[in-house]
């Protein structure tokens, strides 16, 4: 943990060397994410409900998913550059150090400008919390925290999974985007909206819906079973196959030699 703080501090100091450029980048990142929100906003000018959910309820869902994704991305961004590390042999250096490989790749990069992206979620969430018509009590606040936490862990696991694929291909894979970016982009609506087969997939195979649709039902008072509070934590089972896959990939690893 101490080591983690140290890595973090180094990256932060590095980013702060160029302040003006840093804040411009933050602003630019904030801009990029506005489009999806505008899409939702204008669609709801025309329609009133999607799959039984109102505008504010969709916003609640969307801002939670955004937070999940960006928290995961903020901490696990190193995996995004992982194919590059494999390609240029940087990964060999990591292997000889006496620390966990996942941990080291995790720490290889922090992109602080991405804070700009979280900004949107931070603005939307309070608005959605206030207007979605939730009767807040202790358990519902706990559910919300579990949703954000569980989802962030799930997305982080997916980043590891996608990175582990590049052990076998060396190149980065665009397919991985379906799982990571797709989970974020299409998670703006509760997964039930897309119909039964999609909901089944996102419940039992890649458990996005456990961190999003089911606890959302509990928040909105449509389900009262207390089991729904803890479903987001259940979704972390997905981390197990992801890390196992990483281990398999690691054993398979041959240096590119460059």
């Amino acid at each position: 943990m101490r080591l983690y703080r140290k890595y973090f501090g180094i990256h932060l100091k590095g980013a702060m060397q160029y302040k003006a450029s840093f804040f411009l980048a933050v602003f630019a990142q904030a801009l990029v994410t506005v489009n999806v929100f505008l899409g939702i906003f204008f669609l709801f000018q025309r329609f009133h409900k999607i799959g039984g959910f109102t505008y504010s309820q969709v916003l609640l869902c969307y801002s939670v998913v955004l937070l999940q994704f960006y928290i995961a991305e903020f901490f696990a961004r190193g995996f995004d550059r992982f194919p590059v590390m494999l390609g240029n042999g940087q990964f060999d250096r990591i292997l000889v150090r006496p620390r966990n490989t996942v941990f080291q790749v995790l720490m290889s990069r922090f992109d602080f400008a991405r804070i700009g992206r979280v900004l949107q979620a931070v603005v939307l969430l309070p608005y959605a919390i206030a207007t979605a018509g939730v009767n807040w009590d202790f358990w519902k606040v706990l559910t919300l925290i579990f949703m954000i936490l569980g989802g962030a862990l799930l997305f982080a696991a997916i980043f590891v999974l996608v990175a582990a694929c590049s052990f076998f291909t060396t190149e980065g894979l665009e397919v991985g985007n379906i799982l990571s970016d797709g989970g974020k982009e299409h998670g703006k609506y509760p997964w039930s909206v897309y119909g039964k087969p999609v909901l089944f997939f996102t419940t039992f195979i890649v458990p996005y819906a456990l961190t999003q649709y089911y606890p959302l039902l509990y928040l909105l008072g449509q389900k009262t079973n207390p089991l729904y509070i803890f479903l987001p934590l259940l979704s972390t089972w997905f981390m197990i196959p992801c890390f196992l896959f990483w281990r398999v990939g690691l054993r398979h690893y041959k240096s590119t030699g460059s």
């Binding site: 450029s21 411009l24 630019a28 489009n35 505008l38 204008f42 799959g51 665009e174 797709g182």
Partner: protein
């Protein structure tokens, strides 16, 4: 003209090397398209009367958009051009006895056309055979098809011409991150890539339809499905021609300014 064509060919052949990446990207496009259509279905089931175009036309729009993604990609910049401006190696390009504008224009166009050729085929092979309202429908008639084709050529040229302006603006700003992000998000939303332009509320829609961005993706796709027809069709195509000329002119003008006052960084 021949030299620009060879720049075009060079870039085209290089891009075709990445066939595997293109194939991998395909499954992304299929899943993406399917999920978009399913979301529109959910809106449609609740309030079919609020739909600005038929559901079939919406599905067709989504599939065509996925098929032609590479042609209108908001992030489809040639990143080495930005790097060359930043690092100063652009000086070599300036020494060449060809116009920088023409060279960059043909490079960008070649890259986009080569990747769209690879990526559109599987969607055109599979999407038409999906069950009725969810698949890719045929064009609204032979004339609509040929007008859409013509409009597609114009639209992609407008898109490339716009990117040239972004390239040349970096001569003045040097930092490229902000310019790139701003232009990409403008293009994405205003060309109708987030939601089709007919879904925008009245008032906003009329303004957006006049902007150059609506001449990119929006025009050919809606002409294909017959959503734009009659006198409106001629107006849309004329507007595309106008924006193409205007954007090229602005780009050329910026090129001239940039060449006059270029200060190269580094040696």
């Amino acid at each position: 003209m021949k030299k620009y064509f060879s720049f075009f060919r060079l870039r085209f052949v290089t891009s075709l090397q990445y066939r595997i990446a293109a194939l991998a990207g395909l499954s992304t496009q299929f899943v993406w398209g399917a999920l978009l259509i399913l979301a529109y279905r959910a809106f449609y089931q609740a309030e079919p009367e609020a739909f600005p175009m038929s559901f079939q036309a919406t599905a067709t729009y989504v599939w065509l958009q996925q098929a032609l993604l590479a042609l209108f990609q908001p992030w489809g910049f040639e990143n080495d051009i930005f790097e060359s401006v930043q690092s100063g190696t652009v000086a070599y390009e300036l020494c060449r006895p060809v116009s920088v504008y023409g060279m960059w224009f043909s490079r960008t166009a070649a890259r986009r056309i080569s990747s769209v050729l690879l990526r559109c085929i599987p969607i055109f092979l599979i999407a038409p055979f999906l069950p009725a309202p969810y698949g890719l429908a045929g064009p609204a008639g032979a004339p609509a098809f040929f007008w859409a084709l013509f409009s597609l050529v114009l639209g992609s040229l407008v898109a490339v011409a716009f990117v040239q302006i972004v390239y040349f603006s970096t001569f003045f700003t040097i930092a490229t991150e902000g310019v790139r992000a701003l232009s990409a998000s403008l293009v994405e939303f205003l060309q109708g890539a987030v939601i089709p332009i007919p879904f925008l509320p009245d008032g906003v829609r009329q303004v957006v339809e006049l902007l150059p961005f609506a001449s990119m993706l929006n025009a050919p796709l809606r002409i294909y499905s017959g959503d734009i027809s009659g006198a409106f069709l001629y107006r849309v195509v004329a507007l595309q021609l106008f924006w193409l000329l205007a954007l090229v002119l602005v780009g050329k003008l910026m090129e001239r300014c940039a060449m006059k006052r270029t200060v190269l960084l580094g040696g």
